[in-house]
């Protein structure tokens, strides 16, 4: 069954089907939010909230729409609502040295290699928009078309911005590596 047909069933009132969507998407949504917030615990709370909203606002899923960009749009809204309420921005307060501690489980930290730690630190130094673009298009492998639809802009614009963000990430990553 496609995500869309499952979501249609949820919309018609078969709420149990939402479990399938949870299974298919919760790890990706969590990873998106963990990399955006740089905080594993907060990302877990916000992930729950995404799926709560998916069920509560199921009527807003329109026929013919693709599920993946829709659920990521909810995740973006949850993220932005959280920080609007908190009135603090990740980029202002984040201590890049602590990023790894904040987003990784204590138990698996030792197994991660140094390069991933540098990658997360470099990612944390990007602007919210750049980080979001790279998470969606590179880590989550979403199509430029879908990201453009979510961000209400053109595919060409998204592509240019992703390239610039990748270039910035390269600058931070190799700067960290050289130090």
């Amino acid at each position: 069954m496609t995500d869309e047909s499952i979501m249609e069933a949820v919309k018609r009132g078969d709420l149990r089907q939402a479990s399938i969507l949870f299974e298919r998407y919760h790890k990706r949504i969590f990873n998106f939010l963990a990399k955006m917030t740089l905080d594993r615990e907060l990302a877990a709370d916000l992930t729950q909230n995404v799926f709560f909203r998916l069920i509560r606002y199921r009527e807003s899923f329109r026929p013919g729409r693709r599920f993946e960009p829709w659920v990521f749009q909810i995740a973006r809204n949850v993220f932005s609502d959280h920080y609007q309420t908190q009135k603090n921005r990740v980029a202002v307060y984040v201590d890049v040295e602590k990023v790894k501690d904040n987003i990784e489980d204590e138990n698996d930290g030792a197994e991660r290699d140094e390069k991933e730690r540098q990658l997360h630190q470099s990612l944390a130094r990007l602007t919210d928009e750049q980080r979001e673009l790279l998470i969606l298009t590179r880590f989550e492998q979403m199509k430029y078309e879908d990201v453009a639809a979510i961000m209400q802009t053109s595919v060409a614009n998204i592509k240019v911005k992703v390239h610039r963000a990748l270039l910035k990430l390269r600058e931070y990553y190799f700067e960290v590596e050289k130090t």
Partner: protein
């Protein structure tokens, strides 16, 4: 070739998104330009690292919480089905108004829309405040309530419950702050007066005393005296209560 275009082409080259002709153009650039080659190698390493990055593992509680929430929603959706005939009657009444005339239609539509907006907003706030699993969500719910001009009884009751019983002291304090905005409401005033002898969190006790003093609530003088006399209460709270008595009496 300008640098931005070159970068874009190198990234597309790494992603294997170029035509044959464009590939040859990039390969010629890379073999003849050490700087471009260096850029390519760094970007390739970065892209490879991103593609192979280990996903961040999530705590199992998220699944458990989701399943609990889902069961709750399934239960409440059954209740909604039972109430549907009631809503159908309301809808029929609205329809009659429509038949009654165009003006009536426009007025009733606007009214319905407004009620739906308010209900949806209140539902959202209540859902957040009742989210037992997440202190940050409850806190957010309280913050949204603070934007209201006037809360309804259900919201006041939820705020009082959070102030009195929430396990998280930030949530208790935020709920008190929200209540402080609505002290002109009788139910709020009564709720915070009643809360004083029950509250055990010193930080909330102090904030509560300050609020009661600010609104000049003399009914709490006896309770303040009890706090002053209670040797088990920490000194800072007793001092605040004593200061309150001096101001109010």
């Amino acid at each position: 070739m300008d640098k931005e275009k070159l970068t874009g082409m190198i990234i597309d080259y790494i992603d294997n998104n170029l035509s044959e002709e464009e590939r040859r153009e990039v390969e010629a650039e890379l073999s003849g330009n050490a700087e471009s080659k260096g850029l390519y190698e760094e970007l390739r390493e970065l892209v490879h690292l991103i593609n192979s990055a280990t996903p961040i593992e999530m705590a199992p509680r998220v699944r458990e919480d989701f399943e609990r929430f889902l069961e709750k929603e399934i239960d409440s959706s059954k209740k909604v089905v039972r109430l549907q005939s009631f809503f159908y009657r309301i809808a029929a009444a609205v329809l009659l108004l429509v038949v009654g005339g165009w003006v009536g239609y426009v007025v009733s539509q606007r009214h319905e829309q407004r009620i739906a907006e308010i209900e949806s907003r209140i539902d959202g706030m209540m859902a957040m405040m009742e989210n037992e699993l997440s202190a940050s969500q409850r806190l957010r719910g309280v913050n949204v309530v603070m934007t209201l001009d006037r809360p309804d009884d259900e919201i006041v009751a939820a705020l009082l419950k959070l102030m009195n019983d929430d396990p998280n002291s930030n949530v208790r304090l935020a709920a008190l702050e929200a209540l402080g905005r609505f002290v002109d409401e009788q139910q709020v005033r009564r709720g915070i007066i009643d809360a004083l002898p029950k509250q055990r969190d010193p930080v909330v006790q102090i904030a509560l005393i300050q609020l009661l003093v600010k609104i000049r609530e003399k009914q709490v003088l006896d309770d303040l005296q009890k706090i002053v006399d209670d040797e088990e209460t920490i000194q800072a709270v007793r001092d605040e209560a004593w200061a309150g008595i001096l101001i109010l009496s």
